[in-house]
Each structure stands twice: as C-alpha cells, then as structure tokens.
Amino acid sequence: MIRSITQQKPEEEVDRLLDGLGRVFIIGCGTCVTLTHTGGETEVKAMKESLTEKGKLVTGDMVLPVACDNLTKEALNEYGEQIDQSDVLLIMTCAFGVQTIASQLKKMVVPALDTLFIGKETAFGEFNEICTQCGTCILGETGGICPVTTCHKGLVNGPCGGTNNGKCEIDDEKDCAWTLIYNRLKELGRLDAMKKFQKPRNHQGEPSPGKWKSVSLRSSDGQKV
C-alpha cells in the first residue's frame, strides 16, 4: 500500500496564513492523513477547538472519505452553505486533496499540512520513500533498491564518502542506500551489476509536469492531444 505522508505545519505558519480571515471551514480526509494522525476526525476536531479559542468562527467541518477522489465534488456539495459562509477553507489533507478541493470550489484554500512524500508501508506503522517516479527506472541494475530515491544524493554509481557504519551521512536513522544495494547484490551473487559504470542519468524521461492520457483519448495520428 502506498500513502501520501504528511505532517502538520507549524502553528505559527497556519496562524499567519489565516491572518485576517475570521470564518473558517475545515476539511479533513479519511484515508492517508487519518492513518498518519495528521488530518483525520480527531485532528480536525482539535483544530476546530484551537481556532475557536483563537477567536475564529468555524462555520463547519467535515472529513471527506478520500479527498483526492473525483467524487469529492458531491461530498462538498452537502456542506455548500457552511462553505459559502466561510472566508477560507483550511484543509487538513495531503496536497493532492488540497488541489482537488481547490479545483472544485471558488474559495481560497490554506493547507494545514506539509506533504512530505509518497510512502510505502515497510513495517507496521512505518512508511518510507522508496520511489520518486523518476521516469527512467534503474531498479534492474540495483537489485530492486532505488538509489535515485533512497540515496540522499540520488547517486547511481555507488556510495559517497559519507557512509557511516552503513548509515547515511545526513541521518544515522537512515540506511545508506548503497550499503543496502551492496548487501542485496552480494546476496544475489550479482555484484557485477554494481561494478558497471552508470552514465549520467536522464532527468527528462518525462519532463515535468508529468502527463498521461489513455490511448483511447489520443488522436489517431499518434500525437499527444
């Protein structure tokens, strides 16, 4: 399962973003942010209390089942009046949810969370960033561990000089990608893959922003439409 991993913005930042906006409608999400306890039912309630204490008028609150889903529009309609009465929507979902909601309603949105990464659950209660969808996948040469993402510097030819006891130079809680890759390839008897020189990466496999269309929607002459 992959999840959008978030953390709450510092209180001062949210206060600053809401400065001068007295009436707030709060939106949470029942999926990823509920799991990470950053924007579920409980956090929305706590935010409501905190804002009320600070003298804001909370015109209403809701927790969408899946904020990034296209059905979000219908769910939001149910709260039309309370949303209309607000000056701003304070959104406690990941940035995918924030953008989905912003595109449905003519209202300024303020994200209450920072979206950190798309994480894979690697152990119970633990999420790690293991792919950043780079567009030119090299997992076939690294034993299935991604250095583009898992190495802090995205190095593809082996470790930098900062590896410390198998941990990354930036954080001894994070494994050095290249220690992991080395161990995996050794176990598989394929260290030759690591010895192969990797030429400079193609950073434009899919020039940002990524876009994809179903074949049936592409024009018949094969051009992207």
């Binding site: 510097k153 470790p159 000089g161 590896t163 930036i170 220690t179």
Partner: protein, 296 residues
C-alpha cells in the same frame, strides 16, 4: 599540455600536495599569504570548493589566483552545486586559464553547511564527472556535441580507506579509476598499518595515491573527528599523545605526529605521496614538511 603536477606524479618522486581554502568574502589576503608561503614548497595546492557546504569565494577563483601567483593549483569540484552544463563550462574556463588539475568530488550534503535550505544538485556524481573530463578531452561535451578548442586535464578523485563498510567504497574507487582518475587523494588516515593493507589492494591499479594527513590540533578535535567524520579513526594512542602534550604545545605535538607519519609512509614507500590538510593552519605546512624530513 602536461601539467607540472602530472609531471611530478610521473617523476616517481614523493609528491606533496596541500590545501588552500578560499575566504568567506572578497578579502583574499590570507589566502594569498598561504599561496605565497606554499607555492614553491609543495607540488600542488588543492583549492577547496565550498568545503562542508559552506558558501565561499569559488574554488575556480582561488585556483586562478594560485596560477597567477606562480603556483600549481588542483581545482576541487563537487557535484553538489552545479549541473552538468555548469560543470562542463567551468572546466572549459579552467582549461583556458591553464588550470589543468581537477579533483572530482561528489560533495557533502547541503544540510551540513550554512545554506541548509539550498537544493543539492548531484546531476552528476564524482565518477561521472571524471568521465565528463575524459569526454571533453576527446573534443565532445556530454550532449555529444563538438567542442571548438582542446582541453587536457590531470584528473583525480578521493577514497576513504577506512570506510565502513569498505567493500562498496572500493567498488566506487575502482569505478573512478575506470572513469579516468589518474591520482587519488585519500580521506585522512591515522592508522598506517590499516593504510598499508589498503595499499596492498590499491597497488594493482594504474593510479597514483597520495595519503591524506589531517593535522591534529588538540585531543578534543581528534575526538570530534572520530565522532563526526565518516571514515576517520584517530587511534586512542594518538589522542592520548595529544592529551598529554603540555598546554600551549598541542599544535607542536600535532605537527610532530603528522611529520612522523609522513616520514614513515615515505620511508616504507607505502604510496606515491602525501596530501597535507592543515584545515585553517596552512601556515604550519612547512613545519610539518620539515618534521617529515621533506625538503620543499
């Protein structure tokens, strides 16, 4: 054109390199003094590139100054701050000004430095930068386009002989040589028996190796490195030696230790030379060389 440093490497003599660090700002006086002091004593001077991710006067500017003052610069280039276009362009400029020695580094993470929110680039890595240099020498840029005018470099890289784990580091070391490294300056070494073991392995490769020696200035400094610098292990005996040196004589003791180590490396012909890193105390490099019995 073959650089003076490359000639020194090929001459079979015990080669000595040291460092100069560009200033934080435009006051070049101290760097100028260090260059003046060292230019005729060492075979070449590395000019550091935003060392520890701290923004400074550029290494290219420092290398140009070494050149203008009649010294032999080794331009340090990290991949942290420039993408491939900028790195290639700087190499072209260096070449045009007679700066023909380059040390290729990946570079520390920006989070260690004084611009902690900056983007770390790492478009290339150190081995790819070496490969880039070899490609430019063939008259092509990384895009495969022809270059007008020639370049020629003596290119090198680093290795951490006491990295943990060591094997992945050695694979990278071999890739750097394959990509075109002609010389290697090592991370600081303090245990020469360990270093000898590393050299037993490294000798098989067609590359010149300069052992890295960092001047110890105090026992706390040694302990700090042990704790914070990956792959640097100052043995307890050396820390004790620094500890028991009388107050006010710690630096002398550090010079003595560095001199003693270099002398042994040279006498036992362990490797091709030494890279002396005096980190902020460049003015004592001649004293270290004296203590090592090296004539500058």
């Amino acid at each position: 054109m073959v650089s003076a440093f490359k000639k020194a490497l090929e001459s079979g003599k015990f080669v000595v390199t040291s460092e100069v660090a560009p200033p934080k700002g435009t006051n070049l006086e101290k760097m100028g003094q260090h260059i003046e002091l060292l230019k005729d004593k060492v075979d070449a001077m590395n000019v550091t590139d935003h060392q520890s991710s701290v923004m400074r006067f550029p290494s290219l500017g420092g290398a140009l100054m070494v050149k203008e003052m009649g010294g032999e610069p080794i331009l340090q280039m990290t991949c942290r701050d420039r993408n491939r276009l900028a790195l290639e362009a700087d190499l072209l400029f260096a070449s045009s000004r007679g700066i023909n020695n380059v040390l290729c580094l990946t570079g520390d993470s920006v989070i260690f430095g004084d611009h902690k929110e900056a983007k770390g680039v790492f478009d290339l890595d150190s081995s790819q930068l070496l490969g880039t240099i070899r490609k430019l020498e063939k008259g092509k840029d990384l895009g495969g386009n022809d270059l007008d005018g020639n370049v020629s470099f003596c290119a090198g890289a680093i290795v951490t002989p006491e990295a943990n784990p060591l094997e992945p580091q050695l694979i990278k070391f071999e890739k750097k040589i394959e990509a075109g490294a002609e010389f290697i300056q090592t991370q600081a070494v303090y245990d020469l028996d360990n270093f000898k073991e590393f050299m037993d392995y490294a000798k098989q490769f067609p590359v010149k190796i300069l052992v890295g020696i960092i001047l110890l200035t105090s026992a706390p400094m040694a302990r700090f490195m042990n704790k914070n610098v990956a792959g640097v292990n100052v043995p307890l005996e050396l820390i004790d030696e620094m500890d028991t040196a009388p107050k006010g004589r710690k630096l002398d003791k550090g010079i003595e230790i560095a001199g003693r180590m270099i002398r042994r490396v040279r006498e036992e012909r362990m490797c091709d030379g030494v890279h002396i890193m005096a980190i902020g105390k460049e003015e004592v490099v001649p004293d270290i060389m004296d203590a090592a019995g090296l004539v500058g």
